[in-house]
Symmetry: C2
Subunit: 403 residues, 2 copies
């Protein structure tokens, strides 16, 4: 047979970490600290099942026909109302429904990035965002928000957009302070750059009160219907359950209109059945209803993990205590430690972590690991930390022998 | 406020036809022959409602957690089995689930097209395919399958893929003959080009027996598990109901693997709830159960439309009787008739059609109209044809006065 055409160029830019992850799923007894999954027992399955049972019967048009490209009007209205405050004025025109949070990232890339253009990106950054934007061939300008000398205006100037996760960033778990939130919003207003506020973990404050969203801080600067530079992304996946694949973007109407054009050519519209179930879930207040149990579960697991890390991992890593979200981000003390190699070494000791390279837009950082605390029981987290210590010691010993 | 970054270049390539369509939805009493929607009364709403009611309770993991990127294994297995024949051998590895047929087009564009590369495209072509590929900046090589002098080998050589809709192409309603199907498959095998067989209307044979798929003809040439050049696309939208947003691609495993990478960064996975309902629908044989009523309804509507077209539109247009699908494609006899202008003229006479320009990858064809016969009752179709005749006569009269 004749030779086949090559795949698109962006597909060649892969690493073997993903393949290693996939293989990990087959290892018996493995403790997987590498993912970012919620605890399924927190899903309100009975309530969602009842909603699904009524959705088609009560709303056959909305669930079985093509829904509008930008989402069911009732869901857009409900989200506009949910995020409206005294100073943030939203209507349906500020909202588009997406097929999960991942599609929100894909659509923003399609609408705002031509090949070679610049994305200013909080670093380390969410793996999924880097994946979503690969086909657009962007150029990255990584910024470290913890850097005291960071010049935000210079960082934002000339970029198509800036990407931030102010609440418990994936992977770092970092919470951006109120003072820095204000500075970020000011820089976006001053430079005109669009500013993505990706907020999947906004409900997961394990300690303390939620800080204002960038969206709220931006709206407070200008009265009237929102038309500012913030592109706010939320998702039903982390608030209730991921399997329905419903997320949303709140932004200026001109951007929502462009995203709608991009969504039309991406999947036409999101599942009408999923959207109708999400409407019912919001109307019943399910996110608020399950939140206390979610927070109690995750708080206990985080505390168990941190205690075990203090016991087993302090010689090898340093980390900050995350005040929310799903992850602990640990940096290796030994500059020789290669966490890509640690992923494989860990698997042979029955534990899986995420290495820092996959969160680096340039793929070079080998000095950190992301450890998830939401999916495993406290006992498993303790045992996972113990295994990771053994794997780390073993790898360091191998590095020393090779050096 | 500082100036905002420009949107990506492909977004500037729009016309005002879409805006005109949207405005049309607001006109009272309008007869819309411009869309491509199924008749909602054919949807098995009660059966789908019962399936949705059981899906979460019986399959909480599949419906509420993240489903696998490439789809629920049970659905992939079911589709592999459904399309397997004596000579076509398929496994799960040949199948990926997509969020509707539109996402299948989007993913193929992401995986196979870099800017400037060539797509060989049956012309006129499905509007949605052109939309899906715009962000990839392709170069088009249009082919007319009705052209007796068409050299398929030359047409396919050097293209990343060729795009065809062999069953009742949108917009032309054309059925590709068995002889030409064989020639198309031979050319794909000889040149190595990937060959997209987009088949949303494959169940809608209103007259006669279905012809073999390109996928079947390709598989018959080579024994063993399928790894040939056909990329077959199907959808639940036209077989049962569109609101669940479930489609599928059947192709060589190496292509499915690349599509999976693209889907991961597009929407991570399709709605687990929708997928579980589709599994139940296939297990109950719902597509086969509703098909006789679907065909009887659409056959009567097609016949009513054609009769009314004979009566009112023969002086202005010529067309072929479609033996399936959802559309009649009419070409204007008067070369001066501009069907973009006819869209607007028709709206002022209470009828909406799709002009040929939106189905032309180069956007220049102004000589045809696509008329849908699936959504409206026979009476409305007759009245729509009558209104279209009045609008056409009015526009020709205006053209003559201006000339």
């Amino acid at each position: 047979m004749a030779q086949r055409p090559q795949f698109a160029g962006w597909l060649s830019d892969t690493n073997d970490v993903t393949a290693t992850f996939l293989a990990a799923g087959q290892i018996p007894g493995l403790i997987n600290l590498g993912g970012g999954l919620p605890e399924p027992s927190t899903y309100p399955a009975a309530e969602l099942s009842a909603l699904a049972g009524r959705a088609i019967e009560e709303h056959p048009h909305a669930t079985l026909n093509y829904p509008p490209i930008d989402g069911l009007p009732a869901l857009r209205d409900l989200l506009a109302k949910r995020f409206t405050t005294d100073t943030l004025h939203l209507t349906r025109d500020n909202v588009i429904i997406t097929s999960g949070g991942m599609q929100a990232l894909d659509l923003v890339g399609k609408v705002l990035v031509d090949a070679g253009q610049t994305i200013t990106c909080q670093s380390p950054a969410y793996l999924g965002a880097i994946d979503a934007w690969k086909p657009r061939l962007p150029s990255y300008r990584p910024i470290k928000l913890e850097d005291d000398n960071l010049d935000l205006t210079a960082a934002f100037t000339g970029a198509q957009f800036a990407y931030t996760v102010p609440n418990f960033s994936n992977p770092s778990g970092r919470l951006v302070s109120l003072e820095q939130r204000k500075a970020i919003v000011d820089a976006a207003h001053a430079t005109g750059t669009w500013l993505v506020e990706d907020d999947p973990y906004g409900s997961l404050y394990l300690d303390g009160e939620p800080l204002p969203r960038l969206l709220d801080l931006s709206a407070a600067q200008k009265p009237g219907p929102y038309d500012g530079p913030i592109i706010y992304m939320g998702t039903f996946s982390k608030e209730v359950a991921p399997g329905l694949r419903i997320g949303w973007i709140i932004a200026a109407p001109e951007l929502i209109a462009a995203l709608k054009t991009a969504k039309q050519g991406s999947d036409m519209c999101s599942s009408g059945l999923s959207q109708q179930v999400v409407i019912g879930a919001f109307e019943q207040g399910l996110p608020e209803k399950i939140l206390p149990n979610v927070l109690a579960t995750y708080r206990a697991r985080r505390d168990a993990l941190l205690e075990a890390m203090d016991e087993h991992l302090a010689p090898f890593y340093e980390w900050e205590r995350p005040v929310g979200g799903m992850f602990v981000w640990a940096r290796a003390r030994d500059p020789m430690l290669d966490t890509n190699a640690l992923l494989k070494e860990g698997l042979s000791h029955g534990v899986c972590i995420s290495p820092s390279s996959v969160f680096d837009p340039e793929g070079t950082d080998r000095g950190g690991v992301r450890i998830n605390f939401t999916l495993n029981t406290e006992d498993k987290l303790r045992e996972g930390a113990r295994r990771l210590a053994i794997a780390t010691a073993s790898l360091i010993s191998k590095h020393r022998q090779a050096a």
